[in-house]
């Protein structure tokens, strides 16, 4: 997953760590530009290639209040892209139809990805924020047998 997270390229900041400018310098109408420069092809660029401005939450972590998180198991995943389609926060990272992992700087822990995962056992499962990825993977359940 190296190179596709905002942290890899631009670093990460806490929301609210911006320079606290006065009323005379804030943007008119609280209209916030997403990019630092005009671009005509944003839809054709991968997120890490887009010139996001500091007004975009792309480089801000907005996940501090998450208490449970999805853990991804590469060994089971079939790259169906269901989780990528359903994630409401664009926090499933996938490139060339291959699932790479989860953007924990933006994932809110809603669990939709786990719900829509079709594999058996699931390739994504929710674990407490306090558990490490290694601990979670060690606890992964076995394949369930079909009930007759």
């Amino acid at each position: 997953m190296k190179g596709v997270l905002a942290t890899d390229r631009r670093g990460m900041r806490e929301l609210g760590a911006e320079e606290m400018v006065g009323w005379d310098e804030v943007t008119q109408g609280v209209v916030l530009p997403s990019f630092d420069q005009a671009i005509g092809n944003a839809a054709f660029l991968k997120p890490e290639e887009r010139p996001y401005s500091d007004f975009s939450s792309y480089t801000a972590t907005v996940a501090s209040w998450r208490v449970i998180r999805p853990v991804y198991n590469r060994d089971i995943c079939i790259d169906c892209q269901n989780c990528w389609v359903w994630c409401p926060d664009a926090s499933i990272i996938s490139r060339d139809k291959q699932m790479l992992g989860i953007d924990y700087d933006h994932c809110k822990g809603c669990g939709v990805c786990v719900e829509v995962c079709p594999t058996n056992p699931k390739s994504l499962l929710m674990f407490a924020e306090t558990e490490t990825i290694e601990e979670a993977l060690a606890k992964w359940p076995e394949k369930k047998k079909k009930e007759k």
Binding site: G16, W23, G29, V30, L32, P33, A38, A42
Partner: protein
């Protein structure tokens, strides 16, 4: 390409038709509306003009006034020239979105055909809705007759869309008294009117995909205050553009407007401050009193309710002895809005008039010339003895025992 309409030098229009024609001449791109009495004919007129090829625009039917203003916010953020109209209950339902529109600095023109607010339900004109909108961050212009409803609409687009303003504007007219009374109106030709307003100049428009923007961001205690202060500053400073647009309008039409209108005030000893069609009633009363009784009466009327003409009020009332503020709505539990605004302005003036408050005309109750004369004479009585001889807040045209509140403190 929209078809042009041949207009006569003098048209017979009511206030609603005058406003609808102004929307046509402005070639408004989007009207999202949920029609309500007495403003219905404005958006109905726009819809008919679109259907008959006189406007290249879109009439969006929605399920409520909240949705109507939301549609206007969306269309304005997208980068179009936007307007709508409403009254009373519809206005109340719009209020949440009015604050969104002004906070996002979106130029929208809202025709408010003033009508009383339930309960009890009432379709006639008073200023309850106008007063409910006074903290919403919109510029509020008031038209006293059909001609002014037309003129203020043309000016409203030019003010609202000015790069230094970018604030939504309400154009007020009195329900039925103005909106449904046919009068002589002198319109501009389509070309002249459009040239006066000019092409729409988009700013931060969402349909420019090369410059993606976020509208409606959330700000908490670390940013909200700065944004609100900047917005307030823009509204306070908008008087510069309002004055300039009124000047340009005068050059084009010969019709002169000022943020604070005053009539016969040069030597006035007593004055009435009022809004809406009542202003014309009071002018008539003042003229008759001057001719018949030698009473130096004058009339003051804020054309711009927001931004409030604080300095101009202090100047025009500086040498007046007694003033009655006529409020066409009751601000429950307090003095009327006009009274309070005028009192606030005059408190920092060297000379202060005796100031009383009349609540009148609620729910469309008639306010006649004779009553205006009585109020002028009562002010003269205060002026002659040097203090307020009545209660400070009184009610004009109310049945039942005399109702009033507060008396002047005298040592």
């Amino acid at each position: 390409m929209a078809e042009k309409m041949e207009l006569n030098e003098i048209e017979v229009w009511d206030g609603n038709q005058a406003a609808a024609q102004a929307l046509r001449q402005a070639q408004v791109d989007v009207v999202a509306a949920y029609p309500i009495t007495p403003s219905t004919p404005i958006v109905e007129g726009y819809g008919a003009f679109v259907a008959n090829g006189y406007i290249d625009g879109e009439f969006v039917m929605v399920e409520s006034e909240h949705a109507a203003m939301s549609g206007c916010v969306g269309a304005a953020a997208a980068g179009g020239r936007v307007a709508t109209a409403t009254s009373s209950q519809g206005f109340m339902l719009m209020i949440e979105v009015l604050y969104q529109a002004s906070g996002m600095r979106l130029p929208i023109v809202l025709n408010v055909v003033n009508r009383a607010i339930a309960s009890p339900l009432n379709v006639r004109g008073d200023h309850g809705d106008m007063y409910a909108g006074r903290d919403s961050g919109w510029i509020q212009l008031d038209a006293f007759n059909a001609q002014e409803a037309y003129d203020m609409n043309l000016c409203a687009f030019k003010i609202s869309e000015d790069i230094n303003v970018r604030l939504p504007v309400m154009v007020h007219q009195d329900g039925f008294t103005t909106s449904h009374t046919a009068q002589n109106v002198r319109p501009l030709s389509d070309d002249e009117a459009y040239a006066f307003i000019g092409d729409y100049k988009p700013v931060d428009e969402m349909l420019d995909f090369s410059k993606a923007v976020t509208y409606g961001a959330q700000t908490e205690e670390d940013w909200h205050f700065e944004h609100k202060a900047k917005q307030h500053r823009a509204l306070m400073d908008s008087y510069v553009v309002i004055d300039r647009v009124f000047e340009e309008f005068e050059k084009k039409t010969g019709r002169k407007y000022r943020r604070l209108e005053s009539y016969m005030m040069d030597d006035a000893e007593v004055a009435i401050v009022a809004l809406g069609a009542t202003v014309e009633t009071c002018i008539l009363a003042a003229k008759e009193l001057r001719e018949q009784e030698g009473l130096k009466a004058g009339v003051v009327a804020p054309r711009s309710i927001r931004p409030f003409p604080f300095n101009e009020i202090r100047e025009v009332l500086a040498n007046v002895k007694a003033v009655a503020a006529l409020d066409h709505s009751v601000s429950m539990g307090a003095m009327g809005m006009l009274y309070n605004e005028i009192a606030g302005a005059m408190l920092s003036a060297q000379e202060r008039p005796l100031l009383t408050n009349f609540i009148y005309g609620l729910g469309g109750r008639d306010f006649a010339v004779d009553e205006a004369k009585r109020i002028f004479r009562e002010q003269k009585g205060h002026a002659d003895v040097g203090y307020i001889t009545t209660e400070i807040q009184q009610f004009s045209g109310l049945r039942g025992p005399k109702l009033g509140f507060y008396e002047m403190k005298r040592s």
